[in-house]
Amino acid sequence: MFGPARRRFGLGSVAKLRASPEIREFFRDYYRTCCNAGPYKVYFTSRQRRKSADISGSVPLADSGNSDAFVAFERVQKSYDGEILVVKDLNLSMPKGEFLTMLGPSGSGKTTCLMMLAGFETATHGDILLDGVSINNIPPHKRGIGMVFQNYALFPHMTIAENLSFPLEVRKMGKSLREEKIKRALDMVEMGDFGGRRPAQLSGGQQQRVALARALVFEPELVLMDEPLGALDKQLREKMQFEITHLAHQLGITTVYVTHDQTEALTMSDRVAVFNDGRIQQLDPPDTLYEKPQNSFVAQFIGENNTLDGVVTEIKGDTCIVRLDGGEMLDATPVNVTKVGERTRVSIRPERVEINKERLQDGAHTLKAEVLEFIYMGDIFRTRLRVAGNDEFVIKTRNAPDQEKLVPGTMIDIGWLPEDCRALDAT
């Protein structure tokens, strides 16, 4: 993004560009104004803005191939021991201002990716680009990336204000400017009165806010967060989720967030990258991820999910018919099945199962189900069924006045719209 500008100013690298505060300030203000409208608009507005800037001639920016990517992983691989790849061929690009979450079980490679981006691990193969410049050989302290750690990593021997002052001092900032920025950052996270305290005197949530303020105080364009809310209780976590997302969008910061908590990923992110086995299994906005999982792993990992195994018997455009192992037939949407006779695992969300026959379209396949257990959960009812030999088939129904409360032991018919039932890979 800064490529031609750099040429114009005669500067050779990101590091050098960072060394000049005026230019930096200028670009930051420029991009701030572009980025304050939210992630998706950012994408377009900044491009439009760039075009208009191009025309006016004030900031000549060429449109290189992947100019929208602020952060890009290109064929990145990582191995610690030379035998096993913990990250296998990672390709990812994010536009400026996006909030991207890396979600996955432990050992799936998400934290390794974050550490490579931060510069604490080196990629075994491939390039990591920041602003179009490869940062493989730039040491962490020159990358200018803010980072929030899992255990906050606030320096215990410094007060809160000193903690925040640290990144400004190493940037040789003047005292009055430092104090102003510290105050602004602390006010931003509503910790303005705590500057003189030590980290040990704060609660977990307050430490979390300070850690956030410290990562933002030197105004980085990219902020990385490594399971920052892992140590907080549920209520506080939900509050902080909202605050972090809000702050990130307000400041227009590009954020990479790592978590193994799927709720966190769904509620906070613009896009979620689901990691497993060193690969990105799916990279999509939360709603797409939840409603249209691309494979069995994603379907299982995100949200609650019912699965039934069977064989594809017919494919007709965007619907297919699956014969379950027990002989029952059902309609589904083929996702990654391609030919008749292939084994498949169909996946249905509990809240998309229909027990009211009238709401299904004519000719829809239904299945017989035996009610095993009825659980009253307040806002919803959770009912466990036996369907096609599967005892763990769960449906959720809304607690509405006319909602039927199913009685264990009775037999019912269940069905669903073909687009809610997705035929995925069998593994």
């Binding site: 962490p140 302290h141 215990p156 990562a215």
Partner: protein, 423 residues
């Protein structure tokens, strides 16, 4: 609840005041806890506090003069030592009576030895007079003044009488004056002549060398402790064994090894001569001086520095360094501003340990220190086992103890003792 608090003291269920009831309940717990530590308490009392207290008492104890020469002490009370005149006949008569009794009880040599510390020569005076005194009839044979002076001319010396008078009280500050290179002169306490001063020099040297040893232990130990705390477990364990290896070797063997290494015909000099750095006729003197003491003691005390530093460094999570770097600090800044301040408690603990061990070290300075590298502890040992002047040894020990406590206090003021962590 609240109305009870308003009307008077809180009561327990049986009507006794709550405070009393609580106190009774806690007293049983406290008693039980006390019983558990009683053996240890007793052991500390008998094996540590009592001996140390007794030793401190030795440094001021002086009962021997008034016990052995009771009449003389009373008779001498009114004599003015600064008049320049010898005491009168009653004093000599009292001395004769005391000496006669002491010689029969065979205690006259002991008091002679005691007074000899203060005024060399008195020992032989008492021994010679004591031999003669056995046959005396103190009541009949007087007058004694001329007899005694004839027997030994020491009895005609006012300095001898002054010494006896000065050291007649049951408690004395003489040992401490001695330990501070001072003595009681005609005008009260005064410094000894330059050529007789030794203890202040030794104290100074002990402190200086101990500080040097502590400093070199910090410089050498810090990187090792850092490696121990940051290497992978397998390598760290290997390194730990190397650090602990000296503990498994006899202290004497290690010290002797340094003698082999450092002497003029030793390994290091041979290598230096062979390389050509040092001429064969100008081999370095590295042992039997302060250099040798510092080298050997640094080696011996190094583990005591490394272990506390290691245990503190182990508690510093590596994320702090990462956090510092992500905030823009170079490796050095991250270390100096973030890691080092957190490792200071370990340095403090190790330094106190090493310094206190060094200040009282005895064997190594005795073996490799020669005359220029000995410590005050060597002098204390000399007075305990050779000169048998236990009072002076006790005074030197007490001064050492006070110096250590003072330094400890200063450390607390400057760094803060709460900052010391052993793990």
């Amino acid at each position: 609840m609240s109305d009870v608090a308003d009307t008077g003291p809180m009561l327990a269920a049986d009507g006794t005041p709550l405070k009393k009831s609580l106190g009774r309940a806690l007293r049983r717990q406290k008693m039980r806890a006390l019983m558990l530590i009683a053996p240890l308490l007793l052991f500390i009392l008998l094996a540590f506090i009592l001996p140390v207290g007794d030793m401190l008492y030795w440094s001021v104890k002086n009962g021997i003069v008034s016990e052995t020469l009771p009449r003389t002490v009373v008779a001498l009370k009114d004599w003015d030592a600064n008049s320049g005149e010898l005491p009168d006949e009653p004093v000599y008569a009292a001395m004769a009576a005391d000496l006669h009794e002491a010689s029969l009880a065979k205690t006259h040599t002991k008091v002679g030895v005691r007074l000899n510390y203060e005024n060399p020569g008195i020992s032989s005076l008492f021994r010679k007079s004591g031999r003669a005194a056995k046959k005396w009839e103190p009541a009949a044979d007087g007058p004694w003044k001329d007899q005694l002076i004839e027997l030994h001319k020491g009895w005609g010396d006012t300095a001898v009488w002054r010494t006896i008078q000065t050291y007649s009280p049951p408690l004395t500050s003489g040992y401490y004056l001695n330990a501070a290179d001072m003595r009681v002169g005609p005008d009260g306490p005064e410094m000894r002549p330059e050529n007789e001063r030794i203890y202040m020099l030794l104290f100074g040297r002990t402190l200086k060398l101990s500080l040097m040893i502590t400093l070199s232990c910090v410089l050498l130990g810090y990187p090792v402790a850092w490696l121990l705390a940051n290497l992978p477990t397998r390598k760290a364990n290997m390194l730990m064994i190397l650090v602990l290896l000296p503990f498994w070797t006899s202290l004497l063997v290690r010290t002797s090894a340094w003698k082999v290494m450092l002497q003029q015909q030793g390994v290091i000099n041979d290598v230096l001569v062979w390389i050509g750095l040092v001429a064969d006729d100008a081999r370095l003197v590295m042992i039997n001086n302060q250099f040798g003491t510092v080298i050997a003691m640094t080696h011996i005390l190094l583990p005591f520095m490394i272990l506390p530093m290691y245990s503190v460094m182990q508690t510093i999570p590596p994320t702090y360094l990462r956090a510092a770097k992500s905030l823009g600090a170079t490796n050095w800044t991250a270390f100096w501003r973030v890691y080092f301040p957190q490792s200071v408690p370990g340095i403090g603990a190790g330094s106190i340990l090493v310094f206190i061990l060094a200040i009282g070290y005895y064997i190594t300075p005795a073996l490799v220190g020669g005359t220029k590298g000995t410590f005050i502890s060597n002098r204390i040992a000399f007075h305990i086992s050779s000169s048998l002047n236990w009072g002076l040894a006790a005074a030197l020990g007490a001064i050492l103890l006070v110096v250590v406590l003072l330094l400890y206090w200063a450390y607390d003021k400057i760094v803060g003792i709460d900052n010391v962590k052993l793990g």
